[in-house]
């Protein structure tokens, strides 16, 4: 009797055991038999390159998709969750990589939906929101009676997290929760995570931001190409070790060498005002990378969608190569040679049911046409070049883009714009949700573009990235450009305060 109890106790140590789990999508083996255990009460990081199978495992654990073979044990007993509800009933809660909010409803309703059993005939109380969730939202300045569709993508992510933590949970899985959060918001989230940990909640944490792993996680498990690589305690490990483990080789420098090849000014904004931004006066030169830093909602996306012809301009001038231009649609922008990589890859960037090839040529249909018809040989040629030179992992150019991993999708989109040969290229959060390896490739690509004479504008919420990449940095705060940094001035100490409205030099 005593003996049995002891064994049970031992097993209790492992809250979740995953043994030999396999999953294939058609020809793609997303998981090739992974084994590892998650101890009760720990924060367990799951890392790996794009497409390593992290999200797939999360979906299997939480009952979204079935596994092909293998076993999952919860507190020693094998479990098969056939639906999200079943998993939730056993205390397994997930913040998925994809947003899972109802845009047409309010923040409160969304949270209440995820926290309560919706399948009941009870009356829905809208202010009955978990205190934890409330404090998280308040910390981000989100009002609970706003429609989710009115929120920016980061605010939406916060709502999602708030929804998950407001459920009574034993295991909380966070799949890249911080991908679109700013540092402040991230810290806010980490406070909450710490608090949950003290309450005994076990957390599985997935992120491509390795420094976060070192900040909050106890243990880290590494996946590579659907296979299990290893599990290590975080303590005593360096970031370098982890990266080596992940990519299976030595990691070179993250950021390419900053050459300053700045030439003539291509784009100039004078007292440019529009929906979401005011009085912006900047000039952008060919051959340089301009970083745009700021908090979520600072208006960077608004400013540059306006430059790209997709947002309303109230007043001010835009000069392209010294000539005043007015851009009313993306087509006008494209004609001038302005390209824009949108921040919302899934909703706006990709054409999910079309092939990789069609996604690549999407922005240069004109250049791939003979008269009114498309030139198929040229299309095959161009897309092949892009696929090869960017190292896009896809079965073929004919594969549908939605079957690619996030990093590879992003590379397709970058390829799309490289193919259109822009003179000004705006990359809005180009590294959102992609792995270290892919990030490095993206940085390299952006730098190569700049070196070839393109004016590159990189909007990013990650200061390290902005600092590492940019020749010049603009800081935006509440719709205005409040600071500019150049050369040696580009330090975290200067930029950090600027984006929160302190110490701007403009």
């Amino acid at each position: 009797m005593l003996f049995i109890l002891k064994v049970k106790n031992l097993e209790h140590q492992n809250l979740l055991s995953i043994s030999n789990v396999k999953k294939a999508f058609g020809g793609t083996e997303a998981l090739k038999g992974v084994n590892f255990n998650i101890k009760k009460g720990e924060i367990h990081a799951l890392v790996g390159e794009n497409g390593a199978g992290k999200s797939t495992l999360v979906k299997i654990i939480s009952g979204v998709i079935p596994l092909d073979s293998g076993e999952i044990k919860l507190e020693g007993t094998p479990v098969v969750f056939r639906s999200v509800q079943e998993a939730r009933r056993r205390g397994v809660n997930v913040v998925y990589q994809e947003l899972s909010l109802a845009m047409n409803l309010t923040v409160a309703e969304n949270i209440s939906a995820s926290s309560a059993e919706m399948n009941s005939f009870s009356i829905m109380q809208l202010d009955d929101i978990d205190a934890e969730a409330k404090s998280l939202l308040e910390g981000s300045g989100i009002k609970i009676d706003t429609r989710v569709s009115e929120l920016g993508i980061a605010a939406q992510q916060m709502v999602e997290i708030a929804g998950a933590i407001s459920r009574k949970c034993r295991i909380l899985i966070l799949d890249e929760p911080t991908a679109s959060l700013t540092d402040d918001e991230t810290s806010n989230l980490f406070r909450i995570i710490d608090h949950l940990k003290t309450r005994g909640v076990t957390i599985i944490y997935i992120s491509h931001r390795l420094e976060e792993i070192f900040r909050i996680c106890d243990t880290v498990t590494v996946f590579k190409d659907g296979a299990y690589v290893g599990t290590r305690p975080v303590a005593g490990m360096t970031q370098h070790d982890l990266v080596c483990l992940m990519i299976g080789r030595e990691m070179r420098d993250m950021f390419p060498v900053k050459k300053n090849t700045a030439k003539e000014t291509v784009l100039e904004l004078k007292n440019f005002s529009g929906k979401g931004f005011r009085n912006v006066s900047i000039n952008i030169r060919a051959g340089e990378i301009i970083g745009f830093a700021g908090l979520t909602g600072a208006g960077r996306t608004e400013l540059f969608t306006a430059v790209f012809g997709l947002n309303t301009v109230y007043s001010g001038k835009m000069l392209f190569k010294g000539e005043e231009v007015s851009i009313h649609s993306a087509k006008d922008a494209l004609k001038l040679g302005i390209g824009y990589l949108p921040e919302d890859r899934k909703q706006i960037g990709i054409f999910s049911t079309l092939s990789v090839r069609e996604n690549i040529i999407a922005a240069s249909l004109g250049a791939h046409s003979k008269g009114a018809l498309l030139d198929k040989d040229k299309i095959i040629e161009s897309s092949k070049n892009i696929i090869e030179s960017l190292g896009i992992k896809a079965l073929s150019g004919n594969s549908k883009i939605h079957s690619l991993s996030g990093g590879n999708q992003q590379k397709v989109l970058l390829g799309r714009w490289m193919l259109s040969k822009p003179r000004v290229f705006i990359a809005d959060e180009p590294t959102r949700g992609i792995d270290v390896g892919a990030k490095q490739e993206v940085f390299q690509l952006l730098r190569e573009m700049a070196d070839s004479g393109v004016a590159v504008i990189m909007i990013s919420s990650e200061l390290e990235e902005v600092l590492g990449m940019s020749n010049r940095i603009f800081s935006m705060y509440r719709g205005e450009v409040n600071g500019i940094l150049e050369g040696d001035m580009c330090t975290e100490a200067r930029l950090g305060p600027m984006i929160v409205g302190v110490g701007g030099n403009r």
Partner: protein
Amino acid sequence: MKSNLSGIFNRARKSEILNNRFVPGLKAYSQSRILILLTIIAAMVVCLSIINPRFLSYYNFSAITGNDSMKGLVLIGMTLILITGNFDVSVGSNIALVGIVTAWMMQAGLSPLAASMLGIASGMLIGLFNGLMVTRLKIHSFIATLGSLYMARSLAQVITQGTPIGKFPQSFIEFGDLYIFKIPFVLIILVVSVIAANYLLQHSRLLRSAVYIGTNKRGADYIGLRTDAIQLAIFVLVGLLVGIAGVFLTAKMRSGLPTAFTGLEFKMIAAAVLGGASLNGGQGNMLGSIMGLIVLILISNAMTILGISVYMDGVIMGIVLIGASVLDSVSQKNVI
């Protein structure tokens, strides 16, 4: 620059990439769909011709194709609209209006050719109106075209005051019954149009752009497509196809009927969906749509051939529609 792994990966796949044909039209998805439809069609043809050998007669062939080819033309338009992610439920009323305008103009003394041109123009005008409502006023296409369904039908009745306009010049009537080498002229038009539409859907810049729009409307804005202009163009194109179909059908009917083709739109949508078009946009192919139409026509032909009670018409039509969709869905799951 690229990681080792992806390099290896790409080398392994290179031949595959090269070998892959460009045309993404007949993807595995639609292939299975077309196969199913072909099987259904073949089975029906065999059964019907065993039951009544005259099914395979030249007469039956020319009767079916002479009467329904022009619906195929409308179907091409409907498929395009669905691919763009829109609906056009006004096509039935629009045909009636085209017929009335054509008949009216001939009655007023215009030559058949001039009257036909005006008829086609009126079809395009309705298309333009639909397109403007959708792109300028941002009204959901189903509602906008439902509005013009009612309005066009009403105009047809107002013009005629309810009474059909007949008594066409002989030249116009003969035009509707034209045969070339014993093949109905309308069938030739249809076959040429389907081949052209099928080719253009893969290769024309305009129609490919429509596919991008149907797949992701917001995304299409970001790649510099003039989404409004393209959608408008597609609506007008449908108006043109409907106009041509309307003129031929009117000639064939020898009368401009204000009540003609009520409910045609739903049959067209059903045929297109049967053929693989998605009501969410971005998907659809001409071959599949036409096969869907053939299935629907064969069913109704079978009703007459087999002498099945008219009341069962709907039951069998419904069962085939649902059955084919279920079969297709099941086969999809086996593929993936």
